[in-house]
C-alpha cells in the first residue's frame, strides 16, 4: 500500500539508507533508540545518571527539563559521541558500547553550535557537507530550498547571517547529509515565529519520510503540533514520559 505522497515540492530526498539500517537491525523491531539505565559522564560529572528510554522510528520526541538536567548529554550520547559508562544503549541497531563510531554517519546532531564555516557562504557550507556523503548537486539544492536558505541567502557568508538563518543553514546541511536520526538541541532558539513554524513543518515531514527526531526544547506550547511524545529529563534521568495529542508516530502508510 503506497504511502500518500506529500506535495512534491516539499518531499525530502528519497534515500535507501533508511532501509539499509532497518534491514540490519532486527526487522521485527521498530525501535530506533533503546537505552537501558545508561550512565554517561562529562569529565567526572555524571551528566546522565541512569536513563531508560525507547524511541520508535518516525517519532518526534520532545525532551523537556530544567537546564543542566542532561538533555544535551542525552542527545550527544545518542549521536555516539559519549562513552556509555554504565548500562546498555542501542541506536539504529548499533550497540553504543562497541559501535558508536559506525553509528555516527547515520545520525545528525545539531547542538548549540551549528558546525558551519563562518567565512564560507551558505551554498558552500551545504555543498561541503553534502559532498562528504556524495550527495548530488540536486539534492544539495533541494536541501537548501527546503530550509529556506536558497535564493538570496545562498551566497551570503555565514558570518553575516542571523542566528535563525545560521540554524536553518545547519539543518540544510543535515538534510544534505541524509541523516536518519535527527538530534536537535534547542533548534527553535533564535528563530522568529514564521521560522519556527517552518521548522516544525520540516520536522514533521522528515519523520513521515522515516527520520526519527529528538528535540530538546523549552518550546512547550509548540509541542502539541510537533511532538508525538514528551519526555521529561531531570537530574540525568528520565522522570516522566507521555504521549501528546499529535498524530501517531511512524511513516504514514
Amino acid at each position: 500500500m503506497d504511502a500518500p505522497q506529500p506535495p512534491s515540492s516539499m518531499s525530502l530526498p528519497q534515500t535507501s539508507r533508511v532501509d539499509d539500517a532497518a534491514s540490519r537491525a532486527d526487522p521485527r523491531s521498530n525501535q530506533v533508540i533503546v537505552l537501558d539505565d545508561v550512565v554517561a559522564v562529562l569529565g567526572q560529572f555524571p551528566a546522565l545518571a541512569g536513563v531508560t528510554l525507547t524511541v520508535e522510528r518516525g517519532e518526534i520526541v520532545l525532551l523537556k527539563g530544567p537546564n543542566g538536567a542532561g538533555k544535551t548529554t542525552l542527545l550527544r550520547l545518542c549521536a555516539g559521541l559519549l562513552r556509555v559508562e554504565r548500562g546498555a544503549a542501542t541506536v539504529l541497531g548499533f550497540d553504543l558500547a562497541t559501535q558508536r563510531h559506525e553509528l555516527r554517519s547515520h545520525v545528525g546532531l545539531l547542538g548549540h553550535q551549528n558546525g558551519l564555516y563562518l567565512d564560507m557562504d551558505v551554498r558552500e557550507n551545504v555543498q561541503f557537507w553534502g559532498r562528504t556523503v556524495g550527495a548530488s548537486d540536486t539534492e544539495i539544492d533541494q536541501a537548501m530550498v527546503r530550509m529556506g536558505v536558497a535564493g538570496r541567502l545562498a551566497d551570503v557568508p555565514v558570518r553575516k547571517l542571523s542566528a535563525g538563518q545560521k540554524r536553518r543553514t545547519a539543518l540544510a546541511c543535515l538534510v544534505a547529509r541524509r541523516a536518519q536520526v535527527w538530534l536537535l538541541d534547542e533548534p527553535h532558539a533564535g528563530l522568529d515565529a514564521i521560522g519556527r513554524d517552518e521548522l516544525d513543518a520540516t520536522l514533521v515531514e522528515a519523520s513521515q519520510a522515516g527520520a526519527t527526531i529528538i528535540v530538546a526544547s523549552h518550546e512547550l506550547e509548540r509541542a502539541g503540533n510537533l511532538a508525538t511524545r514528551i519526555v521529561e529529563v531531570i537530574g540525568g534521568q528520565v522522570h516522566d514520559t507521555r504521549a501528546t495529542t499529535a498524530k501517531a508516530p511512524g511513516p504514514s502508510s
Partner: protein
C-alpha cells in the same frame, strides 16, 4: 601483588592502601634494596674507586650521571610499552595508563637530574655548563618532549580519554626520539665545527670504576622500581577517589531528581512551567 603488574592495583590492595598508605611488603623490600645499594654506591663511588688520572675526583659524578640517564631511557621505554598495552589490549585496563604516566614522571625527573648533574660536571672538568654536542642536544629535546607528554596528561576529561590521548602521544614520542637522535647525530658528525667535549668520554674505565658504575645502575634501578610502585598506587588511589566521587555525585544527582516537584500537565497547551530564559 608484589609485582609491577598493573592489575595488581585491585580492590583489596587499594582499600588496604587507603587505610595505610601505599607501602606494602614489596615496597619495603625494594626500599631496603635501594638503601643498601645506594650505601654501597656511596662506598664504592666516593671511597673505593680510584680517582681519574685527568679529571681527578670529579670523575665520581659519573656514577650518578650515567645511571640516571640509563634509567630515564628505561622509564621512557616502559612508558611506550605500557601505552601500547593500553591501546592494543581489549580490556584497556587503566593500570597500563597509570604505569605509563608514573614512568614518564620518573623519567622526566631522572633526565632533569642527568642534565643538572652533567652541567655541574661539565663546569668542573671542561669549564662550561653546556655544549651543543649530539648527546646533550638530544637529551634536552628528550626532556622537553616528555614534559609535553606530562602536560597532555593533565588536559582533563575522563580517565579513559586521558589514557587514550596519552597512550597515542606516548607512542608518537617513541618514534620522535630516534628521529631526533639520528638527525642530531648527523648534525654533529658532518661539518664538525667546534670541538665536541665528550662529557663522559675519554676516561678509560678501570675495572673498579666499571664495577662502581654497575653498582650505581643497580641502586638507581631499585630506586626506580620503588618510585614506580608507590606512584602507580597513589595514582590508583587518586583515580579511585574520583570514582568514589562519581558514585557520590550520582547519588546527589538522583536526589536532585527526587527533590524536583513533578510537573503536572493536563494538556500541553497549559504548560508554562520549565520555560527558562
Amino acid at each position: 601483588m608484589t609485582t609491577l603488574d598493573p592489575a595488581s592495583t585491585d580492590q583489596s590492595t587499594v582499600s588496604r592502601a587507603a587505610r595505610r598508605g601505599t607501602g606494602t611488603r614489596a615496597t619495603r623490600l625494594v626500599g631496603i634494596g635501594a638503601i643498601v645499594s645506594l650505601a654501597w654506591l656511596i662506598a664504592f663511588g666516593l671511597g673505593f674507586s680510584p680517582a681519574d688520572r685527568d679529571q681527578k675526583e670529579s670523575v665520581r659524578i659519573l656514577y650518578v650521571h650515567v645511571p640516571t640517564i640509563w634509567l630515564a631511557y628505561l622509564a621512557f621505554i616502559v612508558t611506550a610499552v605500557s601505552s601500547a598495552m593500553y591501546l592494543f589490549t581489549k580490556k584497556k585496563s587503566l593500570g597500563w595508563d597509570r604505569a605509563a604516566g608514573a614512568s614518564a614522571e620518573i623519567g622526566v625527573t631522572f633526565v632533569a637530574v642527568t642534565l643538572a648533574v652533567g652541567a655541574m660536571w661539565g663546569r668542573l672538568t671542561w669549564g662550561v655548563f653546556w655544549q651543543w654536542d649530539a648527546r646533550l642536544t638530544t637529551t634536552a629535546l628528550l626532556f622537553v618532549t616528555y614534559v609535553g607528554y606530562l602536560a597532555v596528561r593533565r588536559l582533563g576529561g575522563s580517565h579513559h580519554q586521558r589514557a587514550k590521548r596519552s597512550a597515542v602521544l606516548g607512542m608518537i614520542a617513541v618514534v620522535e626520539i630516534p628521529l631526533v637522535h639520528f638527525s642530531v647525530r648527523m648534525w654533529r658528525s658532518l661539518h664538525q665545527e667546534a670541538t665536541v667535549a665528550n662529557l663522559d668520554g675519554d676516561t678509560k674505565m678501570d675495572g673498579l670504576m666499571l664495577f662502581s658504575l654497575f653498582v650505581g645502575v643497580i641502586a638507581f634501578t631499585f630506586l626506580y622500581v620503588w618510585l614506580m610502585l608507590h606512584r602507580t598506587r597513589s595514582m590508583a588511589l587518586e583515580d579511585l577517589l574520583e570514582e568514589r566521587g562519581l558514585d557520590h555525585a550520582l547519588m546527589e544527582r538522583r536526589a536532585e531528581s527526587a527533590e524536583n516537584p513533578t510537573t503536572q500537565y493536563s494538556t500541553i497547551q497549559n504548560s508554562t512551567i520549565g520555560r527558562d530564559a
